[in-house]
Assembly symmetry: C2
Homo-oligomer: 153 residues x 2
């Protein structure tokens, strides 16, 4: 356990607030889910998600500003703009999958559709879990929060 008098200072060094600033607004995750599923154009997102156009415009702009999506005007049809995931955006897949799996298990009670599968085995990916450095899955009672200064390293 963190010492109480250090708790506030310590929680301020966490990247979670910054991450939420980038992707924590309403619709951001659903837009990203769409992008992971192949959506790329304004009208596609709008029709698929049913999001208001001004909000969609704002969210796409913010995700582009944060480098999560790239805005790519279509060179052949200059009306069209493709929004595509950057590496930074693609790196959010574990977050998305973890949240979706949690919803499957604890809210809807059934696997979501579409299913993310391993291309080789064509079987669904494993449940996301926290692992030790050696790859061993960890239970909650095997976990502990420590100050970075106290890392054995």
């Amino acid at each position: 356990m963190i010492r109480p008098d250090h708790r506030k200072a310590v929680l301020a060094e966490c990247a979670l607030p910054a991450a939420l600033e980038a992707v924590g607004e309403r619709w951001s995750f659903l837009i990203l889910r769409g992008a992971f599923n192949g959506l790329a154009h304004f009208e596609e997102f709008q029709a698929t998600l049913g999001i208001a156009r001004n909000i969609l415009s704002n969210r796409l702009g913010r995700l582009v500003e944060h480098g999560i999506l790239a805005r790519e005007p279509d060179p052949v049809d200059r009306r069209k703009v493709a929004y595509r995931l950057t590496d930074k955006g693609r790196a959010l897949l574990p977050v998305l999958i973890a949240l979706r799996q949690w919803g499957d298990r604890w809210i809807s009670g059934m696997p979501s559709n579409p299913v993310l599968v391993d291309r080789l085995s064509r079987r669904p990916v494993a449940p996301m879990d926290v692992r030790a450095a050696d790859g061993r899955p960890l239970e909650l009672n095997e976990l502990e929060w420590i100050d970075r200064a106290d890392l054995s390293s």
Copy 2:
């Protein structure tokens, strides 16, 4: 790739909207991070996070309604109420860790504090990643979305 004419129907079967309904509002994730770090009382959350009291009251109530936190009045000091993670709440740890790791890697550029370590090795937990059913970590080009009906199983 999902067939375009099926995309909307298919995305509607995803648990992500339901999950976001439960934990997608502003402050919810930060309250949970606090709970994972040992915060339990109203005044602790308020002082640590700097959240407005009415909003905190609302969020704690919603998380309790969703079964993510349990409201436990203190039997010895009847002024106090402890908000503790349920199993459902604890199951959100992979989501939290994945998002924090993403922020470490792509926003702040350094590991957050406090660090979540394996109690035995006292080393930080591994980066969260998507794995095949056999435990093999998967790259993005090894992944594919398919309709549940098309699962080999």
